[in-house]
């Protein structure tokens, strides 16, 4: 019995020391589910180059990223938008750019929509594709759930309030949007350009529409010609720790450009 207790104590000590040891070598990132996959990939490469370092990435939305870093729950917050008026005391490091584009089903003959037409579709004034030169088919309007940064950006760009939008489907993440549009010939939705371009390359039955005559491609986000773009930011409260600083510098260096491209985002410089 005593022997077992001694063993247990010894094990507890080892675990305790490990945790203490890890605290100095562990980075916690929380926030935007758009930024998270990129932060994770950058983290993996960072871990490889810095043995013993652990980069822990958790999702939960840009607002959580802001709150967590303000409350000290995360070393770095991730946000797929700029800071809002009330969100002060944070340093912003842009690591990549992303664009939002309108997607429709691949079978849809409509190949372009004006901003006014998009607003009329989303507010329920236009309810059939025939009115837009398409087939006689009801329009399925896909909107995002409240609180998502993609929704905020979309509403802000088109000067809409969410209560004006008359949706048929409300979705959570980008992937659900792609699947819903691919499965419904009359659907229209909006997702990040990187996700849309990747899905198109995987021959998923969707197509992205140009906006203001600019095609929805990663390349048009890169030269900032695409109108509906947003920054992907890391947020830090006050002075970042030495480790956080090294990680952010690494994330902003050319060494991760291929990781950014692999996620269909665009390096900001």
């Amino acid at each position: 019995m005593r022997k077992i207790l001694v063993h247990l104590l010894a094990m507890l000590c080892i675990v305790g020391v490990n945790t203490l040891w890890a605290a100095d070598n562990r980075l916690v990132l929380t926030g935007s589910s758009t930024v998270a996959p990129l932060a994770l990939e950058i983290g993996k490469r960072f871990e490889q180059q810095n043995p013993g370092v652990r980069v822990d990435v958790q999702t939960g939305g840009s607002t959580r990223g802001v709150n967590d870093v303000l409350m000290g729950l995360a070393d770095i917050g991730m946000a797929s938008r700029g800071l809002k008026a009330g969100e002060t005391g944070l340093a912003v490091y842009t690591i990549a750019m992303d664009g939002i584009c309108i997607i429709v089903n691949q079978q849809n003959p409509v190949s372009a929509l004006t901003n006014t037409q998009i607003i009329d579709i989303y507010t329920g004034k236009i309810r059939n594709w025939q009115q837009l030169g398409g087939r006689d088919q009801a329009i399925t309007v896909i909107n995002k759930a409240e609180g998502r940064s993609t929704l905020e950006l979309f509403l802000q760009y088109f000067s809409l309030k969410n209560s004006q939008v008359k949706p048929d489907v409300i979705i959570g993440d980008n992937e659900q949007g792609i699947k819903t549009v691919a499965g419904n010939a009359g659907a229209i939705g909006y997702v990040s350009i990187g996700t849309a371009e990747y899905a198109e390359q995987q021959a998923v039955a969707i197509k992205s529409l140009p906006m203001d005559g600019v095609s929805a491609k990663v390349s048009s986000v890169r030269d900032k010609r695409f109108p509906l773009i947003r920054p992907l930011n890391f947020l830090v409260k006050g002075q970042p720790s030495a480790l956080a600083k090294r990680y952010i510098e690494f994330a902003q260096s050319a060494a991760v450009n291929n990781l950014i491209e692999a996620q269909y985002f665009v390096a900001p410089h």
Binding site: T63, R64, T140, G147, R148, D168, G183, N184, A185
Partner: protein, 287 residues
């Protein structure tokens, strides 16, 4: 009541220990309700009850109507029960009275496996197969009907397995007596076995109801999640659980309080159902 025998000191100790454990389990429920109440208090204390009972949910614009989601939760659950109960009961009856042993074993195995499939897999199947099928009948496809069908599939094993267990527990003497009186197989099932197993079957259905009310991921993927009163089978709806799952990661302030109010409402709904269930089972077992 059993008379207490052997109330020695070790028994008293054990009794005390068990009482603490039982009290703890009861306390958890109380703590959950208190916690939900506390988190949604900012909204409840504002006293804007008409807003909570309204039809519009735009939390970022200060509108917190929960009623459409309450009706949607109830409609999806009732639909699923209506679909799953006859199927599950028929399966259980077939297994007990008609199927050869190997088929009955196979049926039980399939039902147990069905019960083990994660809900997100049902959701994925619903989103990629079922929803496009419904879209061909009437867009948008993500609808109350899709939610009912997916939920029915998920609770079918619960109904079938509990019915099967209750039918197995019907005393053999009763069935033998019925057979001796010259009743047909059909008469034995409808006149003897099912009435004898009634309380257990109802209990199983209510268990399934609670599961259907609490189900989240699969419904979130197929129901469309538009906040509106359920006015037709092909209309998209949002259930209370999906509301929490969709927005909790992104909510702050009174928006967050509104989501906790959704949780509180759902918990109260389940408690009312549990109370009804207890009443019903008591009445039937006496009747």
């Amino acid at each position: 009541m059993l008379r207490r025998i052997n109330s020695g000191s070790s028994d008293q100790k054990l009794g005390g220990l068990l009482a603490v454990a039982a009290g703890f389990s009861g306390l958890i429920l109380l703590l959950i309700v208190v916690f939900l109440g506390k988190e949604s208090w900012p909204l409840l204390a504002a006293g804007d009850w008409p807003a909570l009972l309204g039809d519009s949910w735009y939390p970022l614009e200060g509108q917190f109507g929960l009623m459409p989601m309450l009706w949607a939760s109830l409609a999806a659950t009732v639909g699923a029960i209506v679909l799953a109960t006859p199927l599950g009961l028929a399966g259980a009856i077939f297994e007990h009275f008609y199927a050869p042993t190997w088929l009955a074993k196979g049926f039980r195995l399939v039902m147990a496996l069905l019960a083990g499939i994660p809900s997100v897999v049902y959701g994925l199947w619903g989103l990629t197969i079922l929803v496009p099928l419904i879209t061909q009948i009437q867009p948008p496809g993500t609808s109350l009907l899709a939610a009912m069908i997916v939920l029915a599939l998920m609770i079918l094993p619960t109904v079938a397995l509990t019915s099967s267990a209750t039918l197995a527990a019907v005393p053999r003497d009763l069935l033998a007596g019925a057979a001796a009186l010259g009743m047909t197989r059909k008469g034995q099932i409808l006149g003897v076995a099912i009435p004898a197993a009634r309380a257990g079957i109802i209990g199983g259905v209510l268990l399934a109801t609670a599961r259907a009310l609490g189900e989240t991921m699969a419904i979130l993927m197929v129901a469309g999640n538009v906040v509106q009163n359920p006015s037709g089978l092909f209309k998209p709806v949002r259930v209370l659980t999906a509301n929490i799952a969709l927005e909790m990661g992104y909510a702050t302030g009174s928006h967050r309080a509104g989501l906790f109010a959704s949780g509180l409402l759902l918990t109260l709904l389940v408690l009312v159902l549990a109370w009804l269930a207890a009443r019903m089972i008591r009445r039937h077992s006496h009747g």
